[in-house]
């Protein structure tokens, strides 16, 4: 079973991101379970959502306590909420930010997790005209984790949304996917050198 935990704030599409990820996994023939952990339902409040993906029926209903991947939609949560609680060594950690890990105060963790910084809000603004980073982050997640294809993420977005909103978000996800793949390529080159 592969478990994803998504942290963000009310209004950033955190719950929708988990739902979209579950639809994408379902479209690849897998079992998936997405659910929110609601606190006070208000814009800006910290929100957590979960997604489990497996090859067999998922019965477990506890919150995702030991995620294999973490998506942080809002970097201001890094020092407000215990986002890294229970995260396994070597887990994927995707952060929506334009800043470096040192600037975010995460230097001591860079050896423990597989970090990826993605300017998802900027990509969302550029492609969809709204600062809702969820679709871009899913594109980035597809690239960094290889657990889901960009095609499935795009199909999930088109299943849940229609028309221009769907296409704009698919564009944001695709741009994020390309961005992360490009960075991964550079990292590989750097290692080879």
């Amino acid at each position: 079973m592969f478990q994803v935990r998504i942290h963000g704030r009310g209004g950033q599409g955190v719950v929708t991101a988990a739902e979209l990820l579950s639809i994408a996994a379902f479209r690849e023939g897998r079992h998936a379970q997405a659910f929110p952990s609601f606190g006070s339902e208000r814009t800006g409040a910290p929100v957590v959502a979960f997604c489990r993906i497996d090859d067999r029926e998922i019965r477990l209903r506890e919150p995702v306590l030991e995620p294999d991947a973490l998506i942080i939609q809002d970097p201001t949560l890094l020092h407000q909420v215990d986002v890294f609680g229970g995260v396994a060594r070597g887990a994927f950690v995707l952060i929506n930010t334009t800043r470096g890990f040192a600037e975010l105060g995460l230097n001591e963790l860079t050896g423990k997790f597989r970090f990826c910084a993605l300017p998802a809000t900027e990509l969302a603004l550029r492609h969809a005209g709204r600062p809702v980073p969820n679709a871009a982050l899913l594109g980035g997640f597809a690239a960094i984790s290889g657990r889901i294809s960009l095609e499935s993420v795009s199909a999930a977005i088109r299943e849940k949304f229609a028309g221009k909103v769907a296409e704009d978000n698919v564009a944001a996800a695709s741009a994020a996917y390309a961005h992360v793949r490009c960075e991964m390529g550079e990292a590989e080159h750097a290692q080879a050198d």
């Binding site: 719950v15 996994a25 609601f38 019965r59 209903r61 506890e62």
Partner: protein
């Protein structure tokens, strides 16, 4: 058709496939998405020949459902928590009048203190209201139970409450198989009421009954529920024949054949319990699970038979009878041939507290070691409770409990003064 969808949406689709004629509801979390979905289907025409009535309260919702059902319409509503309490008088009337209304309860805690999260306090508060109560383990079962609910309710002329865990199921996206209209039509015939208000043949429904016959009317209500116990397994079997999957029935037993220890529970927590039990089985523990699908009527004989070889029973229950302890466990004790002391109540998941495999494994281990108390509160923060008790001992006017505890926990938002 297989779909990845939200539990609430799956239930809305199932209800629509049952061709309801009147839907009345008042919104309350976590039920809202269900009736929103149905409202959209009525408005778009996808659900034809159905009137969606917005009402001003839950009391009105159940009253409208009673009127609609008495006039011969297939009626549906949904609620949760305080909403169920607000309609309580009408809930008893619906069953007393023998009207086959189907209602979803998206299970949620009851205040005070106000809490929007999941537990079973709402449904359990109405356990003796005369409705059939079915509890869903998954969203697939929630979907399926609604189809069965209309069938058995209308056959017996009894209302049916389908209980599904709020948020944990209602707001979860998972795989469901949505049946075809033809399948549902095969299983569920058009509503042929056993009683009907018809202006051309006037009758009264709801007469006053005095001491001369009240006992007999109540006896007949009980007898009808006992009859449901006989019929429900057959309807589940028929469901399997039409839809090709096991759903509903009275109970679901899991790995109980050789189990010394049997865990009993209702609803979505059964999945987490099964995963925990599988893990403990790998370590050699003889432990199994009994899921109660039909809580009312209480399947006394079926539970007794399922627990016949158990040496101890652990009941995980998401509600508390204050001043007594467990509600489900009290029912289980009536069905346990062995020592009533071997039935342990574990109160868990109140007000949305997560029930984890780690905590379940610990409590099951304690039970097998003979160290579990008759009544336990899973993951109780004992230090927090002791502080509150010390405060009350120290000062007569020590302040409101909920607010004091929040201050101890450090929840900033609770600070008012």
């Amino acid at each position: 058709m297989l779909k990845q969808t939200e539990g609430s949406h799956a239930v809305a689709e199932a209800v629509a496939l049952c061709r309801p004629e009147v839907i009345c509801a008042y919104p309350i979390s976590p039920q809202t998405h269900i009736v929103e979905g149905l409202g959209e289907m009525v408005k778009s025409g996808a659900l034809a020949r159905c009137e969606f009535i917005n009402v001003e309260s839950e009391f009105a919702a159940m009253s409208v459902a009673i009127g609609a059902s008495a006039a011969g319409a297939r009626a549906y509503t949904a609620t949760a928590s305080q909403g169920l309490l607000f309609m309580a008088e009408a809930v008893f009337n619906a069953s007393g009048l023998g009207l086959p209304i189907v209602m979803t309860v998206a299970n949620r805690a009851i205040g005070a203190p106000i809490n929007i999260w999941n537990d079973h306090s709402d449904s359990m508060s109405q356990r003796d209201c005369g409705w059939i109560q079915l509890f869903a383990e998954t969203n697939q079962e929630a979907l399926d139970l609604h189809i069965q609910a209309f069938r058995l309710g209308e056959e017996l002329s009894l209302p049916v409450m389908v209980c599904m865990d709020g948020f944990i199921l209602t707001h979860a996206y998972e795989r469901v198989d949505v049946p075809t209209q033809a399948q549902v039509d095969t299983y569920l015939p058009p509503f042929d009421p056993r009683q009907i208000l018809d202006p051309s043949e006037p009758v009264s429904i709801g007469a006053m009954v005095g001491p001369e016959a009240f006992t007999e009317v109540r006896y007949l209500a009980h007898a009808k529920q006992m009859r449901a116990l006989e019929l429900i397994p057959g309807w589940a079997e028929e469901f399997r024949a039409v839809f090709g999957r096991e759903s509903g029935g009275l109970l679901h037993a899991y790995r109980t054949e050789d189990a010394d220890t049997v865990v009993v529970a209702l609803g979505s927590v059964l999945g987490t319990i099964k995963d925990t039990v599988d893990e403990m089985r790998r370590g050699g523990a003889k432990i199994g699970v009994l899921g109660i699908t039909c809580f009312r009527p209480w399947p006394l004989a079926a539970v007794r038979s399922a627990l016949a070889h158990a040496r101890r029973v652990v009941v995980i229950e998401k509600s508390l009878a204050v001043g007594l302890g467990g509600i489900v466990s009290s029912n289980v004790r009536t069905s346990f041939a062995g020592n009533a002391g071997a039935v342990h109540a574990v109160i868990a998941g109140l007000g949305g507290r997560p029930i984890t495999r780690a905590s379940l494994a610990r409590v099951f281990g304690e039970a097998m070691a003979g160290k579990l108390e008759p009544l336990t509160f899973l993951d109780l923060d004992r230090a927090l409770v002791e502080r509150a008790l010390a405060r009350e001992r120290g000062q007569r006017r020590s302040g409101p409990i909920a607010e004091n505890i929040l201050r101890d926990v450090g929840v900033v938002a609770a600070r008012v003064g």
